[in-house]
């Protein structure tokens, strides 16, 4: 888990080792754990939001038109969204390379 952000000195480490910036884990991108990515077919999508509800990584958000879009910075490629989509609108596509 080596992490360059964690290189602190004893004088600069936060008081009591508290983390003072709420939710700063968002700076840590988990997208590169992925070996497959979800691709949404808008034709089939009924905007039910199940993909958003069941994503363990809060990778989905709703766009202006009401469609749910994946943030690939965080998506770990687990495939739950594709598995749970009631319209089979999501396909898991292998990542290149």
């Amino acid at each position: 888990m080596a992490n360059s952000d964690a290189i602190v000195g004893w004088k600069t480490i936060t008081f009591g080792c508290h983390i003072l910036e709420p939710g700063n884990a968002a700076n840590f991108r988990t997208g590169d754990w992925r070996s497959q990515r979800p691709v949404v077919d808008k034709e089939k999508c009924i905007k039910c939001g199940m993909c958003w509800v069941f994503c363990p990584d809060m990778a989905y958000s709703q766009d202006e038109d009401g469609y749910f879009v994946v943030n690939l910075e965080y998506c770990k490629g687990c495939g739950i969204c594709a598995h749970e989509c009631p319209k089979d609108a999501i396909t898991m596509v292998p990542e290149e390379g």
């Binding site: 008081f15 009591g16 508290h18």
Partner: protein, 392 residues
């Protein structure tokens, strides 16, 4: 005005905690700490103290509850002893590195087996490295004063470390002594309201107690160690201010008739009183004997201790703890490392005495001094001996 009353030391300590306006008191009963928490719970029940007394189901829970309460911003007090302190042990290391201030009074008692409710220092000595500030009281007045001092130091924003006041079980906790109880106004002047550096508040969310990966663990521990070392300055400052307000002055190491002493006894806690009588007796008989009483155990006041020893060549250190298989008692070991390879440093003899409630009498102190003198003439063996043990 403060008032002088004849009062059981445990009750006086709870009165001091009341004067300090502790807000959350999680506690679990164990002899000989019981009178302290019983009286506090009574004070809360009678509305004399506006606090939450949390009657937890174990000492482990007591310490865990303390951590939550401080982190939420309350002034916290608890008290325990022996097996109870040991049961807390896993948690004790946590609030100190997390810099959560609180005050715990330990009524020192032996550890099982065999089970013993009587006094010695084995319970606290195995908690030496928990990273709490630790003081030892010699008498009832000191127990009260050190308790108030502990709140002041622990909560000082430059310190922000938990603090433990040690009082000998029964020999201190259960005796009635004339004690000067300060009045509320004086205490309020000495102890400002608790303003934690950080606390859990939905308006300003922080995360406390994260995972320390190898890149940060050492730094977190060194930051704690440095905070302990830096704390000494504020401990002394708080004692000076205590003297200004209450007229009683405390030092990290107290000297008694040390002038031109050839042998110095070293003690901690209530046996210091008997040790003083022993010193008087020996001085009357023409022996050059003095006494050093360690009041501040962590952070260890090395500089002050060396200064207090002066030119004396023999130290007879009394440990009320027997660490099986060790080279000597823990206080003895601390002092040996303090003086290691310092030119002209004294010979340090380590004696274990007063385990599990056994009295350390004036005669025992005389025996210790005699032995230290005799061994000082032989060279260079450093004696380690249990005093007053029967062989058959």
């Amino acid at each position: 005005m403060s008032k002088r009353v004849g009062i059981e030391v445990s009750i006086a300590i709870s009165e001091a905690v009341g004067l300090a306006k502790a807000e959350v008191i999680p506690a679990y009963p164990i002899t000989p700490q019981t009178h302290i928490v019983e009286h506090l719970s009574e004070m809360v029940a009678n509305g004399e103290l506006d606090a939450e007394f949390v009657p937890v189901e174990s000492e482990h829970a007591a310490m865990s509850c303390c951590c939550g309460a401080v982190a939420a911003g309350a002034r916290v007090f608890s008290s325990t002893s022996s097996q109870g302190l040991s049961l807390m042990s896993e948690i004790l290391y946590i609030p100190s590195t997390m810099r959560l201030p609180m005050v715990v009074v330990v009524a020192n008692r032996a550890l099982s087996a065999p089970i013993s409710i009587w006094n010695d220092h084995q319970d606290i000595m195995i908690q030496r490295d928990i990273g709490w500030i630790q003081t030892f009281a010699e008498n009832g007045q000191e127990a009260v004063d050190l308790t108030l001092h502990a709140f002041r130091v622990s909560e000082d924003r430059n310190v922000s470390l938990p603090m433990m006041v040690n009082i000998d079980g029964f020999t201190l906790s259960h005796v009635i002594e004339p004690i000067e109880l300060p009045d509320q106004e004086e205490v309020d002047k000495y102890l400002p309201p608790f303003k934690p550096r950080y606390k859990m508040d939905p308006r300003r969310p922080i995360s406390m107690g994260p995972v320390g990966i190898p890149e940060v663990y050492t730094e977190a521990k060194v930051a704690h160690d440095m905070a302990m070392k830096k704390a000494k300055r504020y401990i002394l400052k708080a004692w000076n201010e205590f003297a200004e307000i209450f007229g009683r002055k405390y030092d990290p190491v107290a000297s008694y008739r040390t002038e031109d002493a050839e042998v110095l006894l070293v003690t901690m806690g209530s046996i210091s009183e008997t040790a003083m009588t022993a010193v008087d007796t020996m001085r009357d008989a023409g022996q050059k004997v003095g006494l050093l009483k360690i009041r501040l155990w962590r952070p260890f006041p090395g500089q002050e201790f060396r200064k207090a020893v002066g030119k004396t060549k023999v130290l007879a250190v009394i440990d009320r703890c027997l660490p099986p298989g060790a080279l000597c008692g823990p206080v003895g070991a601390e002092l040996r490392s303090l003086f290691y390879k310092i030119p002209g440093s004294p010979k340090i003899f380590s004696f274990v005495a007063g385990l599990g409630g056994r009295d350390v009498t004036v005669e025992r102190f005389e025996e210790i001094v005699d032995k230290a003198r005799a061994y000082a003439k032989k060279r260079p063996r450093e004696l380690y001996e249990v005093i007053g043990v029967r062989e058959k």
